[in-house]
């Protein structure tokens, strides 16, 4: 009867079970988890167990002890012994307090099990042999790569090597893997054609705030409970950083944090239930859940796609005109020279308020009354003249918007204008997607067009025939890159060209012979040699010549920080990686050392030196090697702004194991007075991260319409719908794990779009139908869910799914200032799909996911 095999009891960890602490492998919240491992058959009992609680009676609701069907798995270690694995949310973690999301709750079943859902992990290095792959030894794989990379650099230059690697923490092995990738690609190979997992270039997504002197991770999760007003701007927190919402924002709305506020606020300062402003074109569950809790304390602004910075500036102008800005803060903490530019261009003080607002209303579609209310909720002083404390959290709705740089800058500046940085209940920063764990040598492009940039667009380089080798690490650009149908088409062609050139009587396994043929193909054609390093077979990997199997979360010790408190913790190793797979840092180390040996053998000391210091023996060693990049961190608290935001110098894996779920907040300082390691709760209390410590203002651009890549659709009746993309609560990223977990793939079996009931009626379609969504960039067939999240005329699509990508439709536009794409805005046409619907739809719920009443 059940759609998949359910469990009706769970094995109990005995008191002597192995115990580890870890942090969830998924979203930016970074919930703490406890891990228990014990041999199969050696269970504890209801009264005596590793949880230390009596399991013979049901645990009361919200008790903070959860152990569910998805929190247990059976694993096999390299010793051949089968073990039970339980991964349960940590009650003692101040991030989640025992709570967990639909993603984190599956940490255990997503671990590799040779008999479970995830048995299809990659286990051996694979070489493409015609239309299939064959396992080869690591020594051959490393020899092929190193020989080929060296020969290619020597003949065509370092820029002939293109790379796309993750730079995040959590599911990647955080600081350890990132340092290794930085050493190999930035110090060693030295190519300019670098790109990050989710975008076509090597850039910050938030140079608009960093170049102001304010790093994007500056607040603490506590601030979401302490704020008078929380602003969620283009950040679907309930669905994408769930526990930040349920454990920190929701209690504030419910009034559960008023006492906490009283303790944190000044004497006599009013403390009440929180207000929430959501700026999002969609009435998604982040809005509807909040309204179900406190209808009158939720304000929802729904700007037209691409127009948010105009809205932010209009709200700032209302604040200025009412005198609600923080004059003392502006004068003391910000650069009044650059402020003139902001006043002129962003606040438009030379124009009358009514004119500015009328124009903003026309561009954004947001009524003036709502702008006024937002301004009041963000900045109107409280009774007694106390400044309102507002925390602003933004994410991909802003970052992956048109004009990335100006969007981010406008929101950061709105917060600084109102003095909302560095105090309890304030802050302005990213929500984040993954957790972070970035430590690398300096990037070739240091900043936006205003600071030495913009960086190269690797996608355009490759689709235009550039490059010889493309090395992809833990990302699946065939699904995830913008304009992905075109990208895939071009890369397939170039990979096929290479394969065709070298496949003469088969593809040779002998490294020397293979390299000779590949180099010959490079000379004669635009063939592309793709290397994919991942934990599963991916769509992109299907066209790779070489696939390298990597270790996943839990299979090596790693460290990362979460995004809402910069909380550094250890994500310990509790199981072995499948087959011959290795941590990414180890793979990169082997290639680096081989390259060094080849250059030494060729008498090229200078090149050999570039690949030095990569012979790490352990994960702890890589972590320590990376820490030296941060420089001297012996500074007093008042100078924390000088430190790199993720600085952990002085911290070791051993220290983090002792700290467990408590962790330590970066930047970590060595306090000059005590000599102790000290974390930083919130940033920029004393100064900003600029040369003189002052916040640097920026006058944003005026509205000038849409870029040509989208403007071409505006008056074209073939593409009547605006189209935006985003995430689903249910699945993580490309569903690399979720595509194998029945709880997930049965619930979301296909790529999908959400369509408003009025549009659905006009198109004569209903939930459960299939449609083809199309424009000049590409087409996708998608399942339809009808709901009222978007306005009529706006279609929402899941960015990508294991079985297809809606990024086929996104344009190749990137912000000329930063090379960040506009994933979230284009126009499309819709055709009802007349074929028989995929039978997979039978398992999915068709109920609207934003109706919570």
């Amino acid at each position: 009867m059940s759609l998949y095999t359910r469990k009706e009891s769970l094995p109990i960890p005995p008191r002597d079970a192995e115990r580890y602490t870890t942090v969830c492998q998924y979203c930016s919240a970074g919930c703490g988890y406890n891990v228990y491992v014990w041999p199969v058959g050696k269970n504890g009992s209801a009264k005596s167990n590793a949880f230390g609680i009596d399991l013979s009676s049901p645990s009361p609701m919200l008790s903070g002890h959860s152990y569910t069907e998805t929190m247990h798995n059976v694993i096999t270690r390299k010793n051949g012994v089968r073990y039970n694995l339980a991964i349960v949310p940590a009650k003692e973690s101040r991030v989640n307090k025992g709570d967990y999301s639909i993603r984190g709750g599956t940490n255990a079943i997503a671990c590799w099990s040779d008999t479970g859902y995830t048995r299809k992990r990659l286990k051996h290095p694979l070489l493409k042999k015609g239309d299939s792959f064959a396992p080869i030894p690591w020594t051959d794989a490393i020899t092929i790569i190193a020989t080929l990379v060296k020969a290619t650099i020597d003949k065509y230059g370092a820029d002939s090597i293109a790379m796309k690697f993750y730079d995040h923490g959590s599911s990647g092995l955080g600081f350890e893997d990132n340092w290794a990738a930085g050493k190999l690609f930035l110090s060693g190979i030295g190519t300019h054609y670098l790109s990050i997992h989710n975008r076509p270039a090597y850039n910050s997504e938030v140079w608009g705030t960093r170049e102001r002197g304010m790093h994007e991770l500056n607040y603490d999760a506590d601030d979401a409970r302490l704020a008078d007003t929380v602003v969620l701007w283009g950040a679907n927190t309930y669905e994408a950083a769930t526990i930040l919402y349920t454990e920190h924002i929701m209690p504030n709305l419910q009034g559960g944090s008023v006492d906490e506020k009283k303790r944190a606020y000044q004497t006599g300062e009013p403390a009440a239930e929180g207000l929430l402003v959501v700026v999002d074109p969609r009435k998604n569950a982040s809005v509807t859940v909040a309204r179900a809790i406190a209808e009158n304390r939720v304000l929802h602004l729904r700007p037209n796609l691409g127009t948010d910075w105009i809205l932010a500036n209009a709200v700032a102008r209302i604040i200025w005109s009412n005198g609600w800005h923080d004059k003392a803060f502006l004068e003391k903490r910000t650069d009044l020279k650059t402020f003139e530019d902001y006043k002129q261009k962003s606040l438009q003080l030379s124009r009358p308020l009514v004119e500015v607002l009328a124009e903003a209303e026309k561009i954004t579609g947001v009524p003036r009354a709502q702008m006024q209310q937002a301004a009041e909720w963000i900045a109107k002083p409280k009774n007694g003249g106390f400044r309102r404390r507002t925390l602003t959290i933004y994410e991909k709705g802003i970052i992956w918007n048109m004009k990335n740089y100006d969007q981010v800058a406008a929101i950061a500046q709105l917060s600084v204008l109102t003095g909302n940085v560095g105090k309890p209940g304030t802050g302005c920063g990213r929500q984040g997607g993954h957790q972070e764990g970035y430590v690398r040598p300096g990037a070739p492009t240091p900043g936006s067009v205003y600071a030495g940039g913009p960086p190269k667009n690797v996608d355009k380089y490759l689709t235009g025939g550039g490059g010889k080798i493309y090395w992809v690490g833990a990302t699946d650009p065939y699904l995830s890159t913008p304009n992905s149908q075109f990208f895939r088409k071009m890369l397939k062609k170039r990979s096929a060209t290479l394969l065709d050139s070298i496949d003469s009587g088969g593809v040779p396994s002998d490294p020397k012979e293979l390299v000779t043929r590949v180099l010959d193909a490079f000379e004669k054609s635009d063939g592309l040699f793709m290397i994919v390093q991942d934990i599963y077979m991916t769509q992109t990997a299907g066209d790779a010549m070489l696939i390298l199997p990597a270790a996943a979360w839990g299979e090596a010790a790693e460290t990362s920080i979460n995004c809402h408190s910069r909380l550094l913790r250890i994500y310990d190793k509790f199981m072995d990686a499948p087959g011959e797979s290795l941590p990414d840092w180890k793979i990169l180390s082997m290639v680096g050392m081989k390259l060094r040996a080849l250059y030494l053998a060729a008498g090229n000391q200078a090149m050999a030196d570039r690949f030095g210091e990569m012979d790490w023996k352990s994960d702890d060693e890589v972590f320590l090697a990376g820490s030296r990049e941060f420089g001297d961190n012996r500074v007093p608290e008042t100078e924390e702004a000088r430190l790199s935001p993720e600085c952990y110098r002085g911290v070791t894996h051993q220290i983090l194991r002792k700290l467990g779920n408590t962790g330590i907040q970066t930047p970590v300082r060595v306090d000059p007075a005590s000599g102790e390691l000290v974390g930083t709760k919130r940033r920029y209390r004393y100064s900003f991260a600029s040369n003189d410590g002052l916040f640097k203002w920026y006058g944003t651009d005026p509205w000038s319409g849409y870029p040509p890549e989208v403007a071409k659709y505006i008056d074209n009746p073939a593409y009547p719908f605006w189209f935006t993309t985003g995430r689903s609560q249910l699945v993580w990223q490309t569903m690399y794990h979720d595509r194998y977990l029945p709880e997930k793939y049965l619930a979301l079996p296909l790529p999908y779009v959400e369509i408003h009931p009025e549009d659905a009626a006009r198109l004569n379609i209903k939930s459960g139908d299939m449609v083809e969504v199309f424009n000049e960039e590409g087409t996708t067939v998608a399942l339809v869910y009808v709901n009222d999240a978007g306005k009529p005329g706006l279609i929402f699509g899941l960015m990508y799914h294991a079985r297809g990508s809606l990024n086929h439709l996104t344009s190749s536009y990137t912000d000329p200032k930063t090379t960040i794409p506009w994933y979230k805005g284009t126009k499309v046409g819709v055709r009802p799909y007349r074929g028989t619907p995929d039978e997979a739809i039978r398992t999915t719920s068709l109920l609207p996911n934003n109706d919570v009443t």
Binding site: M1, S2, L3, R6, K7, E8, S9, L10, I12, A46, L55, S56, S57, P58, S59, P60, M61, L62, S63, S66, Y67, T68, E69, T70, M71, G98, D99, Y100, S101, I102, R103, G104, G105, T106, Y238, T242, T246, A285, V289, A292, Q729, L730, E743, L746, A747, T843, T844, S845, L847, N849, N850, D851, V852
Partner: protein
Amino acid sequence: MSPISRRTFLQTSSATLALALFGLSGTAESATGKRYPSIKIGNLRQLKEGEPVQFNYPDPSSPCNLVMLNEEAVGGIGPDRKVVAFSALCPHMGCPVNYSKGRFLCGCHYSMFDAAKNGQTYQGLASQWLPQITLRLDRTSGSIFAEGVEGLISGRIGNLNIS
């Protein structure tokens, strides 16, 4: 060891008890080897569409809902397979779930479970789907019996381990 706790045994009416004993051979065996009880929980003729009826299963400390939907459901019984039953405890953190509009909604964190689709979490925090109660219909009398649980009841280490 009895599959039914002493308390359940005493609370069960004699008519139900007779059927429970009669139906014993038809009940599901749990993973722990214990057998689920067969308990009469309602009558098809008394069910009204969209109006859930509460019952406890497999023991008194496990509240459940029996409901007739307006569509065919996975695991549904009755002429149109519209009658289903689920645990009333959210598998996320054990809060009560309430039925409306074809789904069970948890008031603590707003997880939502589709009653026609096996209790699947289609929104919210519960990584585990809502446990569904296996039902059997006596066509002659219209009596509905609960005879098993698919999925782990929230807060328990085993569905039948609690005594």
